[in-house]
Amino acid sequence: MAYDYEKSIRPGKLPHIWCPGCGHGIVMKGLIRAMDTCGLDKNNTAIVSGIGCASRLPGYMDCCTLHTAHGRAAAFAAGVKMAKPEMNVLIVGGDGDGVAIGGNHFIHACRRNMDMTYVVLNNNIYGMTGGQFSPTTPTGANASTTPYGNPDPTFDISKLAIGAGATFVARTTAFHATQIDKLIAEGIKHKGMSVIEVLDDCPTCFGRRNKFRSVVDMMKRLKEVAVPVQAAAKMPAEKLEGKILTGVLFKEERPEYCAEYAKIIEKAKGANA
């Protein structure tokens, strides 16, 4: 029997706004399966986003959903989690939203290690505004604001998350659909800040400017560049040139922020008594 996605989607809210060929829908389905796997209670789950194509995702989900301002998702989410630590808090958003305008909130969310899960849909471009380069647009690539090729170096979002202190960091691609829900589920179960970067495609704004003749070409590229981190460990460096590692890239146990704050509450109440 086919998997029932409808039970997790708000009645009447589809069709979504995403272009044909966009991978965001694949990620949303992965998120739904992951939430299901983890048995998340819809009433007790908040999905928070910023601005951009990916940030429209929460609107379709039958949970407590918060579509905030550009870049601010992680900071709104921190407020939800601090004020109600028993809630499951998920964040979704794109590359520009998360690590350009929202970069400061992103790294500090990683540092604090609140028990939240951030799914970054990285399609290397600002899609909603029509294809301007983002911090993950490859150097030399074409975007509407790089008429002579992109001069900017890029961010590696997963490395950024690890460096900033996230305690679970994983990466996959929209091509690897069945890995998406597994990694998100693992992230949700992890007690602490988890970041799951999903390399995604934007045929409309990135593909057509960068010599991808079809969505299939973009998906093929995602398939080809991905190398599972375990396999990579056995490969020579020259074979890893231009490849992107996937799977669980980093995991460690570190005190979770709200659990630590609960101790502060106990301490303060004790001092007050």
Binding site: A69, R72, G79, A83, K84
Partner: protein, 377 residues
């Protein structure tokens, strides 16, 4: 039993007022001259089971209190002019998404870094029009340590009742100076909580105005699941671009303040009954103005003071009436003329109008005000 009294700073009184009002969440970022509000709440909130977080920046602090408020917690942030500038976009978010929250602005000189340890009153128009787009605004401006406490409680009440951001504006002088406070007993001051939905979760619409201009707000984490967005939205909370719906929602959000001016406005009048010349002053400047009124009366000049405690919405009706009563008005403010434009707009030339302004980091003195009063008398 005698009430508990203490000698405290305005910023401390604000923090204690917040706890009295039932504040359970504070997010902030250090900035002079407001930091003591955060310092006191970092100690006090966990004692009452609330939480405090110091965020990575001013914008993050504003975002966090909105997230916190959506879970049902009364939420506060405190900052100064530069911080409010950074928070403006999300103050607009609070307006359109109708999320109750309180923002304290301990005003200093500006623009930009300006004079961090000097007082100013130049953020009053920022409080009214700082965020982009059309929106209503509520701001209160206490003048003493005791009033900072009571107005903080009232600011929470207004935020919760009208489901919107409310700003508390005071300046460095009252923020940092110490006076005696008598702490009100629990129950002595009214504390208002936001209205909760009285319909089933299936029927709940977060912006359903069929029963009034202020729809009840459910909490995240309850059985009510709903969507919140900064886009123009319909009653169900989902984005819309339908002109009639967008127009109706925008107008309702302004109407909820305009139609309730009587409940929101609060003023103090001192010797205005027979006044022939009026001083309009707010916050710490009104203390100089009251001193000036007393001195002027000794000289035989019939001066009076009008002090808006609610700064926004502007007390249009009363100022228009006073404009017809007096020969002249002096607007005293620690800026180079902001509220005077509101007074001018409302009095429509019915009396002489002068400003007593100052922006050098020093308070406006009674003498400065008295000199201007004599010009319009």
């Amino acid at each position: 039993m005698a009430k508990k009294t203490a000698l405290v700073q305005g910023n401390e009184a604000c923090a204690h007022g917040a706890v009295y009002a039932g504040c359970k969440f504070f997010a902030g970022y250090p900035i002079t001259p407001s930091t003591e509000v955060a310092e006191v709440l970092a100690a006090e909130l966990p004692k009452v089971g609330g939480s405090f977080i110091q965020m990575e920046d001013e914008i993050g602090a504003m975002a966090a209190i909105l997230g916190g408020s959506l879970t049902g917690a009364k939420a506060l942030t405190a900052t100064s002019g530069p911080g409010v500038s950074l928070k403006q976009e999300l103050i607009g978010y609070a307006c359109i998404a109708e999320i109750p929250c309180v923002i304290v602005n301990v005003m200093r000189g500006g623009p930009s870094t300006g004079m961090p340890t000097g007082p100013g009153q130049s953020d009053v128009m920022q409080a009214r029009w700082g965020t982009h787009g059309d929106h209503a605004a509520i701001a209160v401006a206490p003048e003493s340590i005791q009033e900072i406490f009571t107005e903080t409680v009232r600011a929470f009440n207004l935020a919760e009742k009208y489901r919107m951001p409310v700003q508390i504006l005071f300046d460095e002088i009252v923020g940092h100076m110490r006076e005696r406070i008598e702490y009100p007993e629990p129950g002595e001051l009214e504390v208002i909580d936001r209205a909760k939905p009285d319909v089933s979760p299936e029927d709940y619409k977060p912006y359903d105005s069929s029963k009034g201009d202020i729809p009840p707000l459910a909490s995240f984490g309850s059985e009510y699941r709903f969507h919140v967005t900064g886009l123009n939205k319909a009653a169900d909370g989902f984005p819309t671009t339908k002109p009639d719906l967008v127009d109706a929602e925008e107008r309702r959000q302004i109407r909820k303040v305009e139609a309730n001016r009587k409940d929101i406005e609060k003023n103090e009048e001192y010797m205005t009954e027979d006044a022939e010349v009026l001083i309009f002053a707010f916050g710490s400047t009104s203390r100089s103005a009251r001193y000036a009124v007393n001195e002027l009366r000794k000289e035989g000049i019939k001066a009076g003071l009008f002090r808006p405690i609610t700064l926004w919405p502007f007390p249009e009706e009363r100022i228009a009436a006073l404009g017809k009563q007096v020969k002249g008005m002096v607007v005293a403010e620690m800026n180079l003329g902001q509220m005077i434009y509101e007074v001018e707009r409302v009095t429509k030339g019915s009396c002489k109008l002068e400003g007593a302004f100052r922006v050098d980091g020093e308070p406006i003195t009674p003498a400065q005000i008295m000199e201007k009063v004599k010009e319009v008398n």
